[in-house]
């Protein structure tokens, strides 16, 4: 019962949304869909409570058990309480402490994390482009051409060479790269449809969790 009712809901709504794809009529696109989207919004607040409960519960237990580096958990809970409190008390519009926290703490920290990506990319590129095998060498050559095609140096070289490196770079992007990308996307599309179909027909039920 615990599984059958949710399964029935999934299957019925699944077929309705298949209909939604093929039926452009107003009753389906406007009347049903708008009402349904409004309904789904109501789910979110309940899930937020669960999420916050999970966060607090996990970090509280770490603090209580003095787990290794439990101080981080303490900082997390303090951060949650402080941000939530200033948000509730002063609001979240411009000029409030919540916005100050967001602008002066949250944004710089996020930007720092993102900027690390450049260095990680450099190390990843180094690993990939070491010419250890024929495939890796092909990858290296292709990468050099693409890189030259993106920078002014490539354009300068092209003026003196009989072959336009920009055109080769564009060709690599447009033909082999796009072909393999489309191949992957085709597989992804089919896999996605197959998974949806498995869910729709009740073959795949893992997402329902446990219980009978």
């Amino acid at each position: 019962m615990k599984k059958n009712i949710p399964l029935a809901i999934v299957i019925i709504l699944g077929f309705i949304f298949v209909g939604w794809t093929f039926i452009p009529a107003k009753w389906m696109q406007d009347d049903f869909y708008t009402a349904f989207i409004e309904f789904t919004k109501t789910m979110s607040p309940f899930a937020v409570v669960l999420g916050i409960y999970s966060l607090v519960s996990m970090h509280y237990s770490r603090i209580r058990m003095k787990a290794p580096k439990w101080g981080y958990s303490f900082v997390t809970i303090i951060g949650l309480v402080v941000t939530a409190t200033v948000g509730f008390v002063y609001g979240t519009q411009s000029g409030t402490p919540a916005q100050w926290i967001f602008r002066n703490m949250m944004m710089p920290i996020s930007a720092t994390m993102f900027s690390l990506l450049a260095f990680y990319m450099a190390t990843a590129a180094y690993k990939s482009f070491r010419a250890r095998s024929v495939e890796a060498t092909v990858l290296l050559v292709a990468a050099i051409i693409i890189m030259l095609g993106q920078v002014p140096l490539g354009m300068a070289i092209s003026k003196t060479w009989p072959i336009n490196i920009l055109d080769i770079s564009q060709w690599i992007m447009d033909v082999p790269n796009l072909a393999s990308k489309r191949g992957i996307l085709l597989g992804v599309g089919l896999g996605s449809v197959a998974t949806s179909l498995k869910i729709l027909l009740g073959i795949e039920r893992t997402y329902l969790g446990g219980g009978d």
């Binding site: 298949v18 794809t21 093929f22 039926i23 452009p24 009529a25 107003k26 009753w27 696109q29 406007d30 789910m43 899930a47 937020v48 669960l50 999420g51 916050i52 999970s54 966060l55 519960s57 996990m58 237990s61 290794p68 580096k69 411009s94 000029g95 949250m106 920290i109 996020s110 994390m113 993102f114 690390l116 990506l117 990319m121 190390t123 990843a124 590129a125 690993k127 990939s128 336009n164 990308k181 992957i184 996307l185 597989g187 992804v188 089919l190 896999g191 996605s192 449809v193 197959a194 949806s196 179909l197 498995k198 027909l201 795949e204 893992t206 997402y207 329902l208 969790g209 446990g210 219980g211």
Partner: protein, 949 residues
Amino acid sequence: MHKNRSKSWLSLLLCLIALSFSFSLFAEGITVENAKIENLVVEDVPGDLGSGLILKWKPLPNDLKILEYRVYRGVTPDSLFYSGSVVLNPVVGFAGEEITYLDSGFKPFVDKSCPGRLVTDGKVKPLNETTNYFGTTNNGYPRDLEVLAQANGKFTFIAQIDKGVYYSRYDEVTLDEELFSGYPLGNVSILARVKEGVTYYYSIVPINETRKYLTPSVIVSGTPISDPLLTPAKELYSVLVTDGLTPVSLNFDWENSVGSYASQAAIYLFTDELDLARSYFDATEENPYQGSEPFIITLDGQINEYAKYSAPIVLEDGLYCLKNEEAKFVIDPENIENIVVAIQANSGQTFFLNDNSIGKAKTIQTASIKETPKVPTFNVFDVPNDKGDTQIVVWEKPVVEITKTSFVEKLGKFLVVNYDFFDYKAEKLKSFDIKLTIDGQDEPFFTHNEFYLNNIIKLSLPEDYDNNVIHAEILVTTNNPETEPYTFYQTLKFDKILKALIPSAITKEDINLNSFNYEVYAKEASPNFVTVAAKVVGKMNNYSDVISYERYIYESVVAFDAESGKVLTPDGIQVWYDARAEKALYLSKFASKSKELLAAEIENVKAEIAATTAQNEMKILEEYQANLVSLQTELDKNISDNNWIKLVRKYRDSSLRQKSYKVFTTNNKGLFSSYELPKNDDGTFQYFTPISNQFDHEKWAGLVASVIFAILVGVYVNLAKKGVDLYIRPIAGIQEIDNAIGRATEMGRPILFVPGMSSISVVATLAALSILGKVAKKAAEYDTRILVPTRDYILMPIAQEIVKEAHIEAGRPDTFDKNSVFFVTTDQFAYVAGVNGIMIREKTATNFYMGSYFAESLLMTETGNITGAIQIAGTDSVTQIPFFITTCDYTLIGEELYAASAYMSKEPMILGTLKAQDYFKFIILFFIIVGTILSTAKITFLLDIFPQK
């Protein structure tokens, strides 16, 4: 020596700092405490109907970091309500000398976000005790009818009512013996506009970047005045159209001034000198007009909307003349320059043309009837496969135009030609043949059939080409077999500055398509209502008219009635529009009153029928009467108000969304022609209503493919159930999952499973959850801890249930720790920081990354790489696959992510879908190969079957 010099520099620096500090102490600068807004003035918005005020004030110094100027408004100086604000960037400040705030037009007044009771804005410190500032951060007036009732008559109000509320949530309210519909305030949004003659009081309150409220400005008042802008037409063109030597018509074409409330009343023709003609407008009884009387052509509202008029010229007594009921005006084609033309606005004042226009209008141009743009015969189609809110007016065949060219000079001379095409769903462009010929040569150097319309043609130029002019001939074929192929011409001329061949305007049948425009006018479901729907250039061939479904209804608010607790609006409602009789039927929202109104309307129609002699008109009126009587029969059944409004809603839905059209072709300088759709047999207008389609025919291919795929799944699931051995190719990443879990067990370290960055509604996340179930079960069997940090709080409880179930299935429910599946944060990079922290602190031995990923993938996998964990990733995010391949030990690419759970479970049902998927790929591959071959051979039927983006 050197040391001494450093010391002296240091001393000088300290002195400067001390000096600047002392200056700052003694300077009487403007501070947050003493800042005052100066020069606040409230003025009437000129040229309107008394519906706006404009506020101006001097901004405070940018040093004060002002974030917002809040505007408080009231109808008395003692009660001011928040009504809007000017928001600034405190870092940049305001650069100008004066800030303006326009209190004009309808603005939100009260809605459901407003507080339920009157709230004093406690942060404002009034300049005097008698003034109260009310409001919250975003609202002024509360949802309190007693408070709102005090504003009755002080503003012009309209209510924005949701359709569902409009037809169901009103009550009958009688006020001063008049009937109104009363809506609950909580169900409607009120918009308000300032009203002519009412005095409003304003005060500005600045707020700085820490949201500190500074001292309010003094209160200043203003009153809107009705002073409509009455500007006559900007331009007037007059053309005498002749057929050979015979004058046919005198055409007038003018441009109405934007924002003017004046419409043109009449056109005057004089034979006097200009100055004498001008004095006609200033003539009085004491000082009568001395010249010859002008000929007057009166203009009605509809002609004003079109801004063009054609007066026919008749031959009478051997003279060509314009005629109306009272007079005639002789036109002498030989001396046409002697006629002065003027246009007058209907404001009660006379407006002659301005000086520039006089120059143009004084000389009436002469043009041959052959120069008149051709009559734009058009048709109206419903747009297929839509929800029924668009119809398309089509007057020309699809157009192809060369838009740009560029040279490519490597390994020869190449030309890249970009083209665009304008077609529509009812008639699509199928293909076109293009011929390019160098000026002076007979044979084209390039001929090409463009059947795949990708907006670009690449061609090689002749060796001897030297920037000569190129003539392009484009022969167009459409998908309508009845349409004969037709040709467009363009010329490509070399531009030395741009170093490119610049395409000329398109010509078709020797007519330059840029030399005229199309104007589409729509006649809506109202007897005398014509609006301009579109003005488009000559190469455009259609206009899509969006006729939205009613969602909100706007009604004027008569009063806020505290006694009944309702917002009162008029009870009248348009029930239907009878397109044949051209009559709009207005009744009441209440059945009893509608009964009376309907009886009166029937009597009116009876009288009209009695007075009509024309058979057609009489028949139409009788039909209209029959409709009214049928409605009366319904009302006579004493239906409830509820049932009555349901009936009204049905009639309104079906009759208020119809439109009729008229199209002009015009050169905007006096030459034009117009076309209206042929009327019905009984002389009534043709009206069109868009149709709501029940199936999207463009998605047939998708539906058929889905059905075939579903059949394949069914077949292979059955085969698998019967025990047929289904071979599935090995996938290294999946085969290694067991080993990876075993490694974690041996090392006594936990496993990390990241279920992607997307929500539960994404299919990749569902696939990741399926894999999580299998991995968690294996981990439970080996008694290895699994950590699942989630980014989506809806996903978290589902993942918890899956891991819990896996432990139960493995026979180890005791080892399940609820806190091992937990929510981290929804923020992308904060989540990465959290996950990376877990990897480093917990020293996870095996990391799984399954699902959708974005820019954060490399940040996580590189960290995992550094910690020495074995990493298995699976994603359908194409852009992230290279990062995973580089940094992970095994990667499931695209579809392998979806196949993983089936592969791991070995359940026949799930394996069946995998096999079906493979065979379906064969079908797709077949169509790709066959489609490529057929397309190369220019056979496009297969291409046309599939939907194109």
